[in-house]
């Protein structure tokens, strides 16, 4: 069991900041996801926690012990990589048993712990096979078993599902999460896949350009993104973001003659958030838009997509901007026809165009 704390941890390569000073406290038993595009610093952060990478500044604490300068092997942390890193000449069983044997555990202990973990992962039938004889998913299960068997204080996982095909990824995603629910070992998980982050994380740390953009539960980062980057990055498709000019409770959107009446409760907050300016961005999720012949906003059909149980309608509202509206599966609208819609007032958000930061709603009495 472990708490992990990063205090002003940073990493520089020459003059370049790979990770700008960041603070992060991970609770015992928590599943934390570091999410961001490639180059955002998430893997470097993970590697600093593991000790595979030294810090350029700041300190790392494991269970309130300063481990900043400890060797990786002294940190009691298990690492799972995207590529399985199994010994090809050893059977699955021997691969799993290896970390325990290396620690000099007795034969009974090794057998007992390996049996426990293979039962948990349901890989009893694979134990005699060598890695080369296993599918990608099964190899990753063996790699997970090898990490689990040590009972480490914490797990660090670097895109462990990245090499698997979509189908398997879905299955393995829920297996790893289920394992976490059963074991409650502190886990730090790196991915660039926002769906994985949402589905698995107790909290998500969204990173971009070497720094943290937002830390929050899946509901928080989805419903209340802290800035335009998070709003775009989370969700598939991301949040609709439309530029406009604000004056007297009304936003004039660019393009088609769209005037959006801002809900009462937001007007004061927007005035304050824009600090005298008028350039703002309206944000709403595809499911927040409701098609309605009497709707006050309008767009032109660009394309429509059947997505299985639902559909998404794509509308152009001016030359450059396409917005997405989630609908039930319905008769497709012809391209270029006009569709009217409204935004659910509970689900609309506002951002400053200049700072890109979300405007915070005023606290209601």
């Amino acid at each position: 069991m472990a708490t992990i704390e990063l205090r002003q941890v940073e990493k520089k390569f020459g003059d370049l900041h790979a990770v700008k000073p960041l603070d992060l406290t991970i609770q015992d038993g928590e599943f934390i996801v570091l999410l961001g595009p490639s180059g955002c610093g998430k893997t470097t952060t993970l590697r600093m926690i593991s000790g595979l990478e030294t810090v350029s500044g700041g300190t790392i604490w494991l269970n309130e012990r300063n481990v900043t300068w400890l060797h990786p092997s002294e940190r009691d942390i298990a690492f799972v990589f995207q590529f399985y890193a199994l010994y090809p000449h050893l059977s699955a069983w021997k691969n799993i048993a290896f970390p325990l044997q290396a620690q000099g555990e007795s034969r009974e202990t090794v057998e007992k712990r390996v049996n426990e973990v293979v039962k948990l992962l349901r890989i009893e039938h694979l134990l005699k096979a060598r890695p080369g004889q296993l599918s990608g998913g099964d190899q990753q299960r063996v790699a997970l078993a090898r990490a689990l068997v040590r009972h480490p204080a914490a797990f660090l996982m670097d895109e462990p599902l990245g090499a698997l095909d979509a189908d398997f990824r879905e299955t393995m995603r829920s297996e790893i999460k289920r394992l976490h629910v059963l074991q409650h070992a502190t886990t730090v998980y790196v991915t660039h896949d926002q769906i994985e982050a949402m589905a698995m994380g107790d909290r998500i740390v969204v990173m971009s350009e070497a720094q943290i953009q937002q830390i929050g539960t899946p509901a928080e980062v989805y419903n209340d993104p802290s800035n335009l980057f998070v709003a775009r990055f989370i969700g598939s498709p991301g949040m609709n973001l439309v530029n406009g000019k604000y004056a007297d409770g009304v936003v004039q959107m660019a393009g088609l003659d769209n005037r959006y009446a801002v809900p009462q409760g937001w007007q004061g907050a927007i005035k304050k958030g824009l600090d005298g300016g008028s350039d703002l961005v309206i944000g709403f999720r595809p499911e927040a838009a409701q098609i309605d012949d009497l709707g006050k906003l309008v767009g032109k059909v660009y394309a429509s997509e059947m997505q299985g149980s639902s559909a998404v309608l794509h509308l152009t509202i001016n030359e450059d901007e396409i917005i997405h509206i989630r609908t039930d599966r319905l008769i497709p609208y012809p391209i270029d026809s006009l569709v009217h819609f409204d935004i659910n007032p509970q689900m609309v958000r506002f951002f400053s165009l200049n700072t890109e930061a979300a405007i915070q709603p005023e606290v209601t009495q």
């Binding site: 289920r178 949402m198 589905a199 419903n223 775009r232 969700g235 394309a303 997505q307 149980s309 391209i335």
Partner: protein
């Protein structure tokens, strides 16, 4: 644009039947997707149509005209691959103009300029025309590749996983634009993918392939709502369809190792043992539900949440709107929309119409 017809195409490689009696029709202006896992024969089919691969049996026809004897260059098809094959030292403009400058076509410089500019506008790459392709991002390069295919008006577009090297956000954006372009241009398009969401979202019709055979051809709605087999049912839809072994007795179907018993839809004749497919959106938590389970896992995706509900020994995936507030371990009542249940034989074949 053209109507494409494949008649009884077979193709053998040493020791393998790559294509086994493939027949289908692609209508003029249709967006036709070949969907299947790796090794299904999708790319081979596309290459046979292009003439890059010669079939061992069967015929390829464009507008009723036999193509079998024609070389790839004489078939007038445009290909877009997963790997962008652009000339790195040339500008975007020259890459786009290249197919028009072929001596066979004799297009005037003025006409070339007009066509290149139109194409660039459609693909939103007008601002890149002077750039060298080596300096473009992956998404921009793929736009240029697509541009090079559409700049002339070939009889058929053949696209082989053109989006799969792009990141998720770009894939989404290009998916929408490709579809818009195809619809507004009315171009006959064959598109190969292993990604079921690309197939559902873009296709007018989908052909599902596996091991060199066609398993089902239909609209996205046909494929999703009436899968011909458990293979198709599991290939399409995310999260994956729930699939259970079941027993039928006196018009009640019981899922093995669970307490779930369902009435059989009237008019369907079922064997004693069968497989049952239930899409996650048809497993509906409901305070007055007739089935009971408990929540073992919740995966909030944002727009919806996948609930893993355990009932007896079985886990039911349920897809609910929004981010659900259920907690792990909660006892959940649920219903199953029995009108949307799929019945399959033990061999995997669909049993109802």
């Amino acid at each position: 644009m053209s109507h494409v017809e494949l008649q009884h195409i077979s193709k053998f490689f040493p020791g393998v039947t790559a294509l086994d009696d493939i027949s289908f029709d692609v209508k003029d202006a249709e967006f036709f997707v070949l969907l299947g896992p790796t090794g299904a024969g999708k790319t081979t089919t596309l290459r046979v149509i292009a003439g890059l691969e010669h079939q061992d049996a069967g015929s390829v026809l464009f507008d009723g005209e036999g193509m079998n004897e024609l070389a790839p260059s004489d078939r007038d098809v445009a290909l877009v691959f997963q790997q962008y094959s652009l000339y790195p030292t040339m500008s975007v403009y020259d890459n786009l103009a290249f197919p028009l400058r072929s001596p066979l076509r004799r297009t005037s410089a003025e006409e070339i300029r007009k066509k290149v500019e139109e194409t660039a506008e459609k693909l939103r790459i007008s601002h890149l025309l002077k750039r060298k392709t080596a300096n473009l991002s992956g998404g921009e390069m793929q736009r240029v590749s697509i541009g090079r295919a559409i700049v002339r008006s070939p009889r058929v577009f053949l696209m082989d996983e053109p989006l799969s090297n792009l990141d998720a956000k770009l894939r989404e954006a290009l998916r929408i634009e490709l579809q818009h372009l195809q619809k507004t241009q009315g171009s006959t398009t064959l598109f190969v993918t292993h990604d079921q969401i690309e197939a559902l979202t873009m296709a007018d019709r989908i052909a599902v392939l596996n091991e060199g055979r066609i398993i089902q051809i239909g609209t996205p709605e046909d494929i999703y709502d009436r899968p011909a087999s458990t293979f198709v049912a599991q290939l399409v839809g995310s999260p994956r369809i729930n699939l259970y072994t079941a027993r039928q007795e006196e018009d009640t179907v019981s899922i093995t190792d669970s307490d779930v018993n369902l009435p059989v839809q009237s008019g369907v004749k079922l064997p004693a043992e069968l497989l049952l497919g239930i899409r996650p959106e048809n497993v509906k938590p409901d305070a007055n539900g007739i089935f009971t389970g408990h929540l073992v896992l919740a995966e909030p995706l944002g727009v919806e949440t996948i609930l893993h509900i355990q009932s007896g020994q079985r886990t039911f995936l349920s897809l609910v709107p929004g981010i659900s507030s259920y907690r792990l371990g909660d006892v959940l009542k649920f219903n199953i929309a029995s009108e949307h249940i799929h019945y399959f034989g033990l061999n995997g074949e669909r049993l109802q119409s």
